[in-house]
Structures are given as C-alpha cells and as structure tokens.
Symmetry: C2
Subunit: 339 residues, 2 copies
DNA sequence: AGTTGACGCGCAAACGTTTGCGCAATAAAG
DNA sequence: CTTTATTGCGCAAACGTTTGCGCGTCAACT
C-alpha cells in the first residue's frame, strides 16, 4: 500500500505538505498541489481510512440494522439508505439482526468499535440497555419501530390508524370474522396495530373475535403456521389482514398452500406495497401501503444532518409518523355466503 | 470512549498487559486476566477497530458489491453473505453498484482504503482496469458473473445450459416464436445465455427470430419497455423467456400491463426462483431456478478460506459453475392456436 | 532601513492498539 | 550455591494521517 510518506519521499517534500495538497489547502502553492496530486494518482494512492478514522475519531461508516434483508420491505429501505450514504461519501455497514436483541447488541458493539459516524436501526422488540447505552454516543435514527429506552429520532407510520382503516374497510365490506396476523407485544408497532384493529370494531359497536388474532414473532413462518390452523377450522375467517411485512408473506404462503389451485374464497389484506403483490392471483393483493421510500429518505437526511451538526445542538428527540394508504386491488371483496 | 490505557491506569498495570489479558494470552496470570476482563466489562470497553486495523494492516470488514439490493435475487445473496461474515466475526459493507462501472470503481477504492479483509462482487459488465488493479491486492470472489480482467475465483451457474434447457422446453411444447429478454453483450452471462437460446433452436434444426431477442441493460425497466413493443406487434411471441433476475420483473410488469385482468395467452419463463413467483397469476411462474443460496455459501466459504491462508498460497483461480433446474408451475403451456 | 504581513512549507505530536524485546523474580536443575 | 528455565509483566516502537506551531523568505508598507 502506497502511503502519504511514499509520495512525500518521491517528491522531496514533507508528509504534511502532501496531506494539505490533497486536501486542497490554501497556503500550499498551486504548483505543489498539482505535482502532489499527479504523483498520488500515478502511484495509485488510496487514503487509509483506518488511520484517518483514528486521527479524527470518526469513520465514514454508517450502520444499518434490519431484521431481514431478504424481505422486500427492508430491502427497499436498504437501497434508499445506501443511496443516501453513498451520495454523502459514507459506506453502509449492513447488519441483519433476525429480530434477535442479542445479535443486535453484538452488531451495535461492533459498529461503535468502528467509530461509525451514525446508525440507522429498525430496533428489535427487546433492545437491551447495553445497546441503548452504546447507541447514546453516536447519531442514531430509528425506522418503522420505536424502542423504549432509545433516545433517538424515529421515523415510522401511524400504525394504529393504518389498521383502523384497513380493518374498517373489511368491516364495511361486511366481514365480521377477520383474522389478524400481528407481531407480539414486545413491538410497539404490533401493539399499535392491534389497537387499530380492535378500535375499528369498537367504532362500529362491534367486538373482534380474539381467537382470530395471531400474535407472534414477526416472521413469515410464524404467520403461515398460525394461519394454517385458522384456515382449517370448521368456521374459517372470511378475511385476513396481515399487520407486518413478513407476516404478509406468511399469509400468502398459507393461503396458497391451503387453497391450491382453487380460487381462495377469503379476502386478503397485505402490509407494505411490494412490487410482487401486484401479481397475486392475477388480480393483485390489496395492501396497506407504507411510504417506505419517503421514510427511509427522511431518516437518512436526518441522520446526515445529525452527523454534521457541531455535536452541541441539544438533541430534542423527534418522532415523525407518516400516513399509510390503502392500495385496493382484487383480493378484498364482500364475504361470500357459506352454507 | 474508554481505551485500553484507561483500564491500565485504573488497574495500575501497563497497556500491554491489558491487551494480552483481553486476548487471553498465556504469560499473563489468571488472576490478572480476570481483573482486567472484569474492569473492561465494567467500564464498557469496546476495542477501537480503526486502531486495530491500522496496527494489523487489515480490518474486519468484507465488501459486498451487488447491482441492486432491492432485487430479491441479490437480497438473498446479501442475506447469506451477511450470515457467513457475521458468523466469522466480520461486518458486511454493502455497496450498490447499479451496474455502473464508475460507481463500482469508487466503492472498490473505498473498500481498499478501509483495508477490508475481502471482497465479494457481482461485477458490472465493464469492470475498469483500475478496479482490477485495486482488487488484485485483496482476497476476492466473484459471484454469478465473471469479469474479464479480474483474477479471482468465481461462483456462478452454467448459463448456456440453463437457457438451452429452458428454450428447449418451450420449443418442445410447440413454441416457435419465443422472445428472449437478456442482458447486453458486455456481460459474459448474457452472452452465454444467448448462446444457449440459439443452440436450443439449432439442436432441433431450427433458427430463432432475432427480432424477438431483446438485449439491453439488465434492468426491469429496460426489459418491460422492450417487451411492451414486442407484445404490441401484429404477431406477438407465443412465449417469453427472461434471462435475468431483473428482466424477469420487467417481463411480469409488461405482461401485467398489457393483458390487464384478462388471462395472458403467452407462455412465460422466469429466471431465478423468488418466493413471489409462486403467486404469479394464481398458477405460479415457471422459472429457471438458480441455487443462489448454495452459490453464496460456497463463495463466502471460499472467501473466508482465502482470508485465512498465509497469503503465500499460489492463488490458482478457480471457477465453479452450479447447475440450474427448471421449476415448472403453470405459466408455460403449449401455444394456443391464433386465428 | 526597519517593521509588518503574507506565503509556503517542515517538525513533531497525537489518535489506540499490538508485539518484540528485555527485565526481574521465582522455581527447577546442576 | 550457582546456573538455567520459566513466569509475569513493562517499555517503546510502529501502523498512516492530520494539525498546531513555528521558521524562513520575500514583498509591501511606514
């Protein structure tokens, strides 16, 4: 690896001059700058970011922690985050937490050790105190979910409202047996979404059948398993709403498996608007659409701003909620009369 | 940030002792090791990886360069890569190249600057000499595609065979007007896939209609645009085969848009076996399935091995090709007779 | 002619960690 | 009792970069 010293030696100047020349410092003659740059180029110099990080106390790394990169929802988030970072000269360090607080802590620790400039995180349901402690030192933004102990700006959606509207839509179509796939109570988003579901019933003087609520880990496998049982009941639900990106996948899997090639006589509502949902059963899956691009962009912009601020600015924690919208395709219809 | 010196001062020992104790060095009394570890834990010590990288000349970072993280195909790859790295104590730096050689070079430069331990790359079609030069210094593996100037192990599939089989399947169903969506000639995979397509015709004493071959940038938008024109022709193709992950998306978009809610009377063959393809039109999309998990795992394992080797081992460049398989669902049928 | 200022550059220290070498003390061997 | 080996630890240098300070030179002032 060619260093700044090599260039200095080659040119008969001091290392300081080389640094300053490369940085475009005034107080260095234009001629010297030209010579240094040329030599650097010719020798294939690449600045050692480790040395730079050590000296400056901060690196050009931004951490992104997501539960599952394979989920199209988080993949989109990663794409936007990567764009933001790369444009601003940062590199993105990707950590997949699998919704495990322990993995999360381990990775946050590594990020802190790397003196990363900032962190974007979709927190797990059980963020540890150690994680919060570690994160309190660096600019941090949380996406989608909001962890209790974490003092960091958050960017998500109005979860209660999202499920209030979605459930209401199904109720107004005439459904009464509406299954809900939702994350467990450790997730603030899951709680809010559950409340929206219940409130939609309440607003119409109704009450949901609690047996139809499947709360569990936010994974496709969990959702499809819970649903399989529900679909095999003597009186299956007439509609299903999935209150999570992974759970939507689980829902589609279970429904596909249960109905095979016969047309499913159950109404479906997904969560998040993945491109693939347009292809569901030829008619498309109706979903609760989240402005995920907007969210990720807002979070990225905020993070970059936090990184730039002179550190002194009192970090009044902001919490931004965007609105969801219903994207209606063919998968939700009035309930069919059953014999 | 609490450093090793802080711990040393607190305990009245030297920094060297602390390092060695934390590393579990023998030659340090068990008692001292215990005291140091306890103190480190209690003070919340996190090793500065920048300093460590500087001293050791290599960091715990592994770079992953993919064209598009939003594509489910590469997302899966990223997931496996992340698993491999994280298990081995490395962090994954994600770079999205958008198939742009310039972006690719910039990111590789940054990775080299970070003294990353290794690189996994899906090369663009026009890998620059500078990129090759930079990459020649670090352990590197390439996935899916193979760049010309890059001396690095590669893990991909037998592309020609894949399209030979797929095209043959459609031909044997009776199709003759088979559109092909494929990447442009800068990609070695695209060339091989195109050859497979042509050879399948040739093996049956036939010849493809070159007008039905859409070669372009491997992006969904490009594929859907090219296909739109084809579908509007007076005599549209009776079957379409997409020879790329992004192009498959483009194909589905174009077909959805063209046929609306009417059943598409064109046979379809996708590329890569994304979960969402099971939901296509209720019947599922038949595809050319790649063992992407196996590929990514093999590449990851190889990279870790390369990193561990004493650097001296003559790097005889290996090139591993896995076999694809056809996953038959309902989207490919014998051609319908048209008036 | 002496003072002041600007300009162009070098010196050296610092960031936190690791590691070869060496020193002292104790144990084992002669 | 001396020699040798072993154990436990400290010293100091090194990795590459950045930056405050200072020094010399030259021109423009008073």
């Amino acid at each position: 690896m060619v260093t700044i010293k090599d260039i200095a030696r080659e040119l008969g100047v001091s290392p300081s001059t080389v640094t300053r020349a490369l940085a475009g410092n005034t107080r260095i003659s234009a001629e010297t700058i030209r010579r240094v740059r040329e030599q650097a180029e010719q020798m294939g110099y690449v600045a050692d970011s480790a040395a730079r990080a050590m000296r400056s106390g901060t690196s050009a790394l931004i951490g992104l922690l997501v539960p599952d990169i394979q989920n199209s929802f988080y993949a989109t988030m990663a794409r936007i985050a990567a764009q933001c970072c790369q444009r601003a000269g940062y590199q993105l360090v990707l950590s997949v937490t699998e919704d495990d607080p322990e993995i999360e802590e381990r990775h946050v620790r590594a990020l802190i050790g790397a003196r990363c400039a900032g962190v974007m995180v979709v927190p797990t349901g059980g963020v540890t105190p150690a994680t919060c402690q570690l994160l309190s030192g660096v600019p941090t933004v949380q996406l989608i979910r909001r962890a209790e102990g974490l003092r960091a700006d958050s960017f998500g959606v109005n979860d209660r409202q999202a499920l209030f509207a979605a459930t209401g839509y199904l109720l107004d179509l005439g459904h009464r047996c509406i299954a809900l796939l939702v994350g467990d109570k450790t997730l603030d988003t899951a709680r809010a979404r559950f409340n929206g579901y219940v409130d939609a019933f309440a607003a119409r003087g109704l009450q949901p059948d609690i047996d139809l609520v499947c709360a569990g880990a936010p994974r496709a496998s969990q959702g499809s398993e819970a649903l399989r049982a529900l679909l095999s009941r003597r009186v299956p639900p007439t509609a299903i709403v999935a209150a999570g990106a992974a759970l939507t996948e689980g829902m589609l899997d279970a429904v596909s498996a249960h109905y095979g090639s016969t047309y499913p006589d159950v109404s479906l509502l997904g969560f998040g608007d993945t491109a693939a949902f347009r292809w569901w059963q030829g008619e498309g899956l109706s979903t609760i659409a989240l402005p995920i691009t907007t969210i990720a962009e807002a979070a990225g912009a905020r993070l970059l701003a936090l990184i730039k601020t002179p550190r002194a600015a009192a970090p009044s924690v902001e919490s931004v909620s965007f609105d969801t919208s219903m994207v209606l395709r063919g998968s939700a219809r009035p309930p069919v009369e059953r014999s």
